[in-house]
Amino acid sequence: MITAGVDVGLMNTKIVILRDKEVAAQRTKQSGGGGRGETVKEIWQDALKDAGIKPKDISKVVATGTGKKDVSFADKTVVEAVAAARAARFLYPESTSVVDAGADMTHVVTLGEGNTIREVVMNQKCMNGLGLVIEVMADRLGLTLDEISALAPAQGKTNPVNDGCPVFAELDALGLLNIGVDRREVAGAVTDAVVVRLSSILNDKIRPQKDTTVFIGGLAKNLAVTERLKERSGIHFLIPENAEYGGALGAAVIATDM
């Protein structure tokens, strides 16, 4: 059985194709803003080519992500939290929670028995766009995402920026640049602010367990974020190799049930 999951995020669209519950292909591309629907079609063709199959070979397609309604060929849409939960249990059957943090939203999902969900905590509005903040700051500071990911843990501790609101954090960061603070220090301070907010979401309701919490989404790829978050929260996250494909994978797994 071949199924596909499409996760249309704020910054990137991800596709995972499963053949008998094994990953046959995965693809990602920038979501393309206003022309998101067209981008989805393009990347869909590429993914099919990678898997060496035709559209008719696919049994079911499930879409998720903030732009899930733009996937015209989807048989079903599911909310991000549901996709994340299925991905977590698929990858780590013993998992109890999953954190899904990308460019836009952050979800902390407490898993129930089987495929059920006990609770979902979504980020407050002031914590929207945490991944986007890092991307924007990387751009402003002339650093690549890899360079930010490689920041040493101590970088950014001397000149903290506002950790209550990403927009204020950016303004503070620009202020630090103006007074000559090293750009890596500034990047570290912004990373810390993002981590404080992520940690706050983890603390909001049911606290995720130490060794059975999965971390997926674009931010899970950022080592500076995950290491600092681990230090702050005490949680040893289970991070899959292709963490950014978590939502798409979950959607593809759900398609196998249909």
Binding site: E80, A81, V82, A85, H107, T116, I117, K125, K205
Partner: protein
């Protein structure tokens, strides 16, 4: 999954409700024409003492501001801009911004002149914004104004504190009445006020009947109906008997609906409660939730007419036994009447359920058999948000699924992201395994 479908039909009492609402609006319009007739009050509360003044109309900015938000987004935006350029920012309650923004503009939604307030009484309960709001009409013109505390304390009953608080509060009101008589030459009718004292308990009985009936499945009415009716008779200075008759008919009709299995939502399979108040410009989320077969059975706020209630061991809601004035003490004077009111009301104001009797929220969830709770988080207006997160945790701990959404304030749509709110509802419902039953 429950596939039962129940019959639905509109309430027949709607016509009478509209009539009462129009009567209230007429009383405002008429008062605006009469010098010395309009009293701006910070919180009209449970009991309208001004019933002793025939020539006085009490108006609170909450319903005025909420009405503007609900009826005209464009106008309430104008009002908020008018207040913003004068210094008010994002933390100021939307009701305050709408109502007094309209005064800054000088006109109302219908282009008529903003009714001049002849006097003002701010009030510290249940929100700091209620305390500060009374100054705007005085800034416009140096009208008479008074204060009225509503003291509270935490911990067990303390007779010494009770007495001091009652003395203070009673004196504040007696001074207000004396001053209004002296300044405006209005006559306060003690007998009329004393005579109206028995109306409120009778009204509470009828409202409690409705609250109890709403524990039934399917819920006979929903939150929208409660919100439509809960201000009638309390925020309005209509004939008390007429008000009581209305609530009796309302309770009778709800009883009839229960007896005949008439539902608020035909596909009810998920019952949810909320915390106060709703975004008045965006009430369509109730309808959106109905697509999932989810019915809102109200909130502590919308069941307020029942008075303070508690869940008995029989699983039914009962009135909390109020303190009574000493046996044999007759009510002859206005001071007696105020002592009676404040003795009875001590510790039973609305906010006490959030400050002092924190268990009432979980009792409410239990009594109405709810599956979930939607708890708004408002940035402006402290009283609308204070303790909301704690309440969410307590409900969550008892197994109720909790959803928080954010906005500026029920009377201010600025920060309410409607699309995001509906997305959150989808996430909430789908994560609980529910799917839409209709598009």
């Amino acid at each position: 999954m429950n596939k039962q479908r129940w019959e639905t039909r509109p309430l027949e009492i709607w016509g009478k409700a509209k009539e009462l609402r129009a009567q209230w609006q007429r009383s405002i319009n008429e008062a605006a024409e009469r010098p010395g007739a309009m009293l701006a009050h910070g919180n009209t509360g449970e009991f309208d003492w001004s019933i002793g003044f025939d020539d006085l109309t009490v108006i609170e900015d909450n319903p005025v501001g909420a009405m503007m938000a609900s009826k005209s987004d464009a106008f309430s935006r104008k009002c908020r801009l008018a207040s913003e350029v004068r210094g008010w920012g994002r933390e100021i309650c939307g009701y305050v911004q709408n109502c007094w923004g309209s005064q800054f503009l000088g006109y109302e939604m219908d282009d008529g002149a903003f009714p001049f307030r002849d006097m003002s009484i701010p009030f510290p309960d249940p929100c700091d914004q209620h305390l500060k709001r009374g100054q705007q009409c005085m800034d416009l013109s140096p009208i008479p104004r008074w204060g009225a505390d509503y003291p509270m304390y935490l911990g067990p009953l303390d007779p010494k504190r009770e007495q001091a608080f009652i003395d203070h509060t009673v004196y504040c009101y007696l001074q207000i009445i004396d001053d209004i008589e002296r300044i405006f030459d209005h006559k306060f009718d003690d007998e009329k006020m004393i005579g109206s004292l028995n109306i409120l308990p009778a009204l509470r009985e009828q409202a409690l009947r409705i609250s109890r009936l709403m524990t039934h499945t399917p819920a006979p009415i929903g939150q929208k109906e409660l919100y439509s009716f809960y201000t009638l008779g309390l925020l309005t200075k209509v004939d008390p008997k007429e008000t009581l008759d209305f609530w009796t008919s309302f309770a009778d009709e709800v009883q009839w609906r229960v007896d005949n299995h008439i539902a608020a939502v035909a596909t009810e399979r998920f019952r949810w409660m909320e915390a106060h108040p709703s975004p008045w410009n965006f009430l369509k989320y109730f309808r959106y939730m109905e697509k999932y077969g989810a019915v809102c059975i109200g909130s502590q706020y919308s069941h307020i007419i029942s008075g303070p209630i508690e869940l008995g061991e029989d699983g039914q809601f009962h009135h909390i036994q109020r303190k009574k004035p000493p046996e044999g003490q007759e009510i002859r004077t206005r001071e007696d009447a105020f002592r009676h009111i404040f003795t009875e009301a001590r510790g039973y104001r609305f906010k006490d359920d959030e400050y002092c009797r924190k268990w009432t929220i979980t009792d409410f969830a239990k009594g109405f058999h709810v599956d979930g709770a939607i708890m708004p988080l408002w940035r402006g207006g402290v009283g609308c948000t204070l303790t909301r997160k704690e309440q969410g945790l307590r409900l969550s701990e008892m197994g109720v699924h909790v959803l928080h959404y954010e906005g500026s304030q029920p009377g201010d749509r600025t920060d309410l992201d409607e699309r995001r709110f509906l997305d959150q509802l989808d996430t909430w419902m789908e994560s609980l395994g529910l799917e839409k039953l209709e598009a």
